[in-house]
Symmetry: C2
Subunit: 279 residues, 2 copies
C-alpha cells in the first residue's frame, strides 16, 4: 500500500526553514515573528504544488535539549521531563509557524516526528509516512521539525531537521531541496573572519566532498562559513540526484524566488558539475 | 518487533478527559484552565505507574470541524483549510494540557493521531503505535486526543477520542479505562429532565446493551443522561474484559480516586455482572 501512495504523489519540494531564521539567536524561546510571517507570505505567493516544510529548533529546542543532554540518549531518570520539555518547546514553535501559514490560507498540518519515527542510535529506523503522504497528496502542506524522538538503542535521541529532510527527500523522491539558511550559501572561506571569502554559486557533490576534510572531524570551525558542516546530512539525497539549493532566508524574497525556480543568490549543489536548467 | 515492545509494557491505565470537562461549553476556544490545572494535580498525586491520557475537543475542535463538515469526509477543496484549522485547534488545546502536566513534573508527551493513524471510513485502519509504546515503557505519559485524520476511503475523517481509547485499550492490553465525564455516570433516566433518575453504580455489558435500543438509532436523546450513547464505542474493549469506570471529572478528587482504585461515585462497567475488587 505504501508504494501505491507514494507513486501517485507528484514530486514534492522540500523546504527547510533554519532555526536561526525563525527564532532569535541567544534569546531562549523567542520567535522571530516578523520573519515567520514574511516567510509564510512568500510560501503562499509562490503557490508551489506539492510542498513539505521542515523547520529547525533555534532558540526553542536547543537550550532545553542541551540542559538535559537529550542528545546523549537516556542516561538518567532526570532527563525524562527534559525530553517532554524539549518536545513541548518544539511544538510551541511549530504552532506559531502553522498559525502564520494558515493565516495565509496554506493548509499546513503539523506532523510530529516523535509520533511517527523511531531512531536507532540517532538514525531514522522506523518512519510511518503513510498519514502525511496521504495528506500531501490531498494538497496539504505537512510541516515537520527537528525533534526529540524515541530511539531503539539509546532510549531517545535528537533527530535533526537535516536528517529528516534527507530521508524525506529520498523516500518521497523529492523534486528538490531548498535550504533556507541565515547565510548566503557555501563560501570559499568564512566570510565572518575572512574578507576574501566568496560565495560559491554552483558546486558538484565531488567538489563538496573535497571541502569536507577542511572542516575537520568534529569541533573545528567550518571554514566555509558553517554551511558544509550543516549539509553533510543531505549528501545521500544529493547522490540520488535531488538538487539542493541553499539560500539566505533572512533576506526577503529569496525563499520565494527559490520556490518559483527563479534566479536567486545562493549555492546550488547537484550530483554532477552541471546545473540543471530548472535550478 | 512490535509484539516484543508491547509484551514488556506493564498494563497501562487509560484515562479519558472529556472535552466538556477541560473546555467551557458554548464558548469557542475557551479552555477551562482551572479544571485542567486541578486534573493535572490529581493525576500527579495519584502517581500511576503506566498511564495514557486521551482528551476530547470540546469547544476547541467541534465548532471548526462542524463549520467545515470534516466528519462528512472530503467533498470540496474548501474543506482542506478547515481540516488544518481543526487539527490546529486540537493541538492548541493539547498544548495547554501538556503544559499543566509538565508543571506537575509529569513527563507528558503529545502524540498526534493525524501523524500516526489512517482511518478507513472513519474506523482506525493503520496505527503506528511503536513510538508512543516505546515512550510509555520508558515512563512517559502519552497524551492523545480526538483529531481530524487522513482516511483511505473518504479523504479525511474525525477520529473520536472514544474510538481511540477503545483501540488503545485493546492493542495495549490496558488494565482499565477511566472515563472522566461531566456527569456522574450512567443513570436510569436523564437526570436533567427526570427527577426520579438514579445513578447506576455497576452495570454489566449485557445490561448496558439492553439500554441501547432505548437510546434509538441516531439522533434521539440518550435517555440515560447521555453516557450510554457516548460509551458504545468502548464496548469492544469491555468485551475483552477491560473494566471501565465513568466518573464525574468536573468534581474534585474523582479522577484521583479512580486512578488510585479508591471508592468513588460513578458507574463501573465490566464484562460480567460482578465487580472486580480492584475497581
Amino acid at each position: 500500500m505504501e508504494e501505491n501512495v507514494i507513486a501517485s504523489v507528484s514530486k514534492p519540494t522540500i523546504l527547510k526553514l533554519g532555526g536561526s531564521v525563525i527564532t532569535i539567536k541567544g534569546r531562549p524561546f523567542t520567535p522571530n515573528k516578523k520573519a515567520i510571517i514574511r516567510l509564510a507570505e512568500e510560501i503562499a505567493r509562490s503557490n508551489v504544488n506539492s510542498l513539505i516544510i521542515v523547520h529547525g529548533g533555534g532558540s526553542f529546542g536547543h537550550p532545553i535539549a542541551k540542559q538535559y543532554e537529550i542528545n546523549r540518549g537516556y542516561k538518567d531518570p532526570s532527563q525524562i521531563i527534559g525530553f517532554s520539555k524539549t518536545h513541548q518547546a518544539m511544538t510551541t514553535l511549530n504552532r506559531l509557524i502553522i498559525n502564520a501559514l494558515i493565516d495565509q490560507d496554506i493548509p499546513a498540518i503539523e506532523i510530529q516526528p516523535s509520533s511517527c519515527i523511531i531512531t536507532k542510535s540517532g538514525r531514522i529506523q522506523i518512519m510511518e509516512q503513510r498519514p502525511f503522504t496521504k495528506l500531501l497528496r490531498m494538497g496539504f502542506v505537512p510541516v515537520l521539525y527537528g525533534d526529540a524522538v524515541p530511539d531503539s538503542e539509546t532510549g531517545f535521541a535528537i533527530l535533526s531537521g537535516d536528517q529528516l529532510i534527507s530521508t524525506l527527500a529520498m523516500r518521497l523522491n523529492a523534486d528538490r531541496i531548498i535550504v533556507g539558511a541565515d547565510v548566503d550559501g557555501i563560501c570559499t572561506a568564512d566570510p565572518k573572519t575572512d574578507s576574501s571569502a566568496k560565495l560559491i554559486c554552483h558546486i558538484s557533490l565531488s567538489e563538496l566532498k573535497k571541502l569536507l576534510p577542511k572542516i575537520g572531524k568534529a569541533k573545528a570551525p567550518d571554514v566555509t562559513g558553517g554551511m558544509v558542516g550543516k549539509i553533510v546530512e543531505l549528501i545521500p539525497a544529493i547522490e540520488r540526484k535531488i538538487p539542493t539549493i541553499i539560500v539566505n532566508a533572512t533576506k526577503p524574497n529569496n525563499v520565494y524566488k527559490a520556490l518559483k525556480n527563479e534566479n536567486v543568490v545562493g549555492t546550488i549543489i547537484n550530483k554532477g558539475g552541471n546545473v540543471a536548467k530548472s535550478n
